[in-house]
C-alpha cells in the first residue's frame, strides 16, 4: 500500500465515475457517476493526508467537506429530479432538450 497504488485506485474510481456521468441517460445513474468521482477524490485526499502530509488535520477536514458536498449533491439532485419529473414526466437527460417547457 504505497501512495502510488492508492492514487491509481483513486484515479480508476474517478475514471469510471466520469464514464458514468458522461454516458448515462437517466438522472439517477448520472448522479451515481458523480458520487463515484467524489469517492475517488476522497480516497486521494485521505491518501495524501496519511502518507504525504504528515497527518496535517486539514487533510481530514478536506474529506469532511467532500462528504458535505456529496450530501448536498444528492439532496439537490433528487429534488431537481422530482421537480423535473413533475413538470415534464421526464427521467432522462434526452427529454430536457429545451430551455423552456
Amino acid at each position: 500500500m504505497t501512495l502510488t497504488t492508492l492514487l491509481i485506485v483513486a484515479a480508476a474510481l474517478i475514471g469510471i465515475g466520469i464514464y458514468g456521468t458522461l454516458s448515462q441517460q437517466s438522472f439517477v445513474m448520472l448522479m451515481m457517476g458523480l458520487e463515484l468521482i467524489v469517492n475517488g477524490a476522497m480516497l486521494a485526499a485521505v491518501s495524501f493526508w496519511a502518507l504525504s502530509a504528515a497527518g496535517a488535520p486539514e487533510g481530514q477536514l478536506l474529506t469532511i467537506v467532500a462528504m458535505a458536498v456529496m450530501a448536498i449533491e444528492m439532496a439537490m439532485g433528487f429534488a431537481l429530479v422530482v421537480a423535473v419529473f413533475r413538470a415534464k414526466q421526464a427521467d432522462t437527460t434526452e427529454a430536457l432538450d429545451g430551455l423552456k417547457h
Binding site: M42, L51, K88
Partner: protein
C-alpha cells in the same frame, strides 16, 4: 506482503470492480448497492490509512445515501429489478474515451509525480486532531458546510413541495412529446381538487 497490503489490494479490487458494475448491471437497485459496496471498500482502505473517523463516517453516510438512492431508483426507473437487459447510454464511446484518458492522466501524475514521503507520525490521534481542527482553526469552514446543508434542505423542500404560495408546482407544465415536436405524451389529468380550486377562484 503484510496483512495490511493484502487487505488493501482486496478492497481496492472490490472498490473498482463494484464501481464498474454500477454502470453495467441491469438492475437499478443492484446498481445503487454496488455503489455502496464500492464506498464501503474505500472506507476500509481509509481505516487502513488510520483515518478512523472518516472511514466509519463513510460507512454510515453511504448506507443512508444509497438506501435513498435505491428508493428513488424504484420510483423513477422502468426496470428497477433488472428483469430485462437494459442499457440506457448516450455518446458511450466518447464517455469511455474520456474516462480512460482521465484515468491515464491521473495515474501518470501518481506514477511520475514526486510527492514528499511524510507518513502520519507515531503518536498522532487522528480523531482528536480532526476534532480540534473542526472546532478550532477551521470552525468557519465547518460551520459554513453546516449552513450550506441547511440552505440545501430549505431549497430541497421548496423544489419538491407540490404547492407553493401561488398554486400547483406543475401548473402549466407540459410533458415532452413522444417524437420531437409531437403532442405531449401522457399529460397528467387535472386533479379534482385543482379544478375545483380554479373554479372558485374565477367566481370571487
Amino acid at each position: 506482503m503484510s496483512a495490511v497490503d493484502i487487505t488493501f489490494f482486496i478492497n481496492a479490487a472490490v472498490a473498482i470492480f463494484a464501481g464498474w458494475r454500477v454502470f453495467v448491471t441491469d438492475s437499478m437497485v443492484r446498481a445503487s448497492f454496488f455503489l455502496l459496496i464500492s464506498f464501503l471498500a474505500v472506507g476500509v482502505i481509509m481505516l487502513l490509512l488510520a483515518a478512523v473517523y472518516l472511514g466509519v463516517a463513510l460507512f454510515f453516510m453511504m448506507a443512508v445515501e444509497m438506501m435513498v438512492m435505491a428508493l428513488f431508483m424504484v420510483m423513477f426507473m422502468m426496470n428497477p429489478a433488472g428483469l430485462n437487459p437494459m442499457k440506457m447510454v448516450h455518446q458511450e464511446k466518447v464517455a469511455i474515451g474520456v474516462g480512460v484518458v482521465v484515468f491515464a492522466a491521473l495515474s501518470a501524475v501518481a506514477v511520475f509525480g514526486e510527492f514528499p514521503s511524510r507518513p502520519v507520525p507515531e503518536g498522532l490521534q487522528p480523531v482528536v486532531s480532526l476534532g480540534h481542527e473542526l472546532l478550532g482553526k477551521s470552525m468557519l469552514v465547518f460551520e459554513s458546510a453546516g449552513v450550506t446543508l441547511l440552505a440545501t434542505m430549505i431549497a430541497v423542500v421548496m423544489l419538491t413541495s407540490h404547492r407553493g404560495r401561488y398554486g400547483d408546482a406543475n401548473h402549466g407544465s407540459q410533458p415532452p412529446g413522444l417524437e420531437p415536436g409531437g403532442d405531449p405524451a401522457d399529460k397528467p389529468e387535472e386533479t379534482e381538487e385543482g379544478g375545483h380550486h380554479h373554479h372558485h377562484h374565477h367566481h370571487h
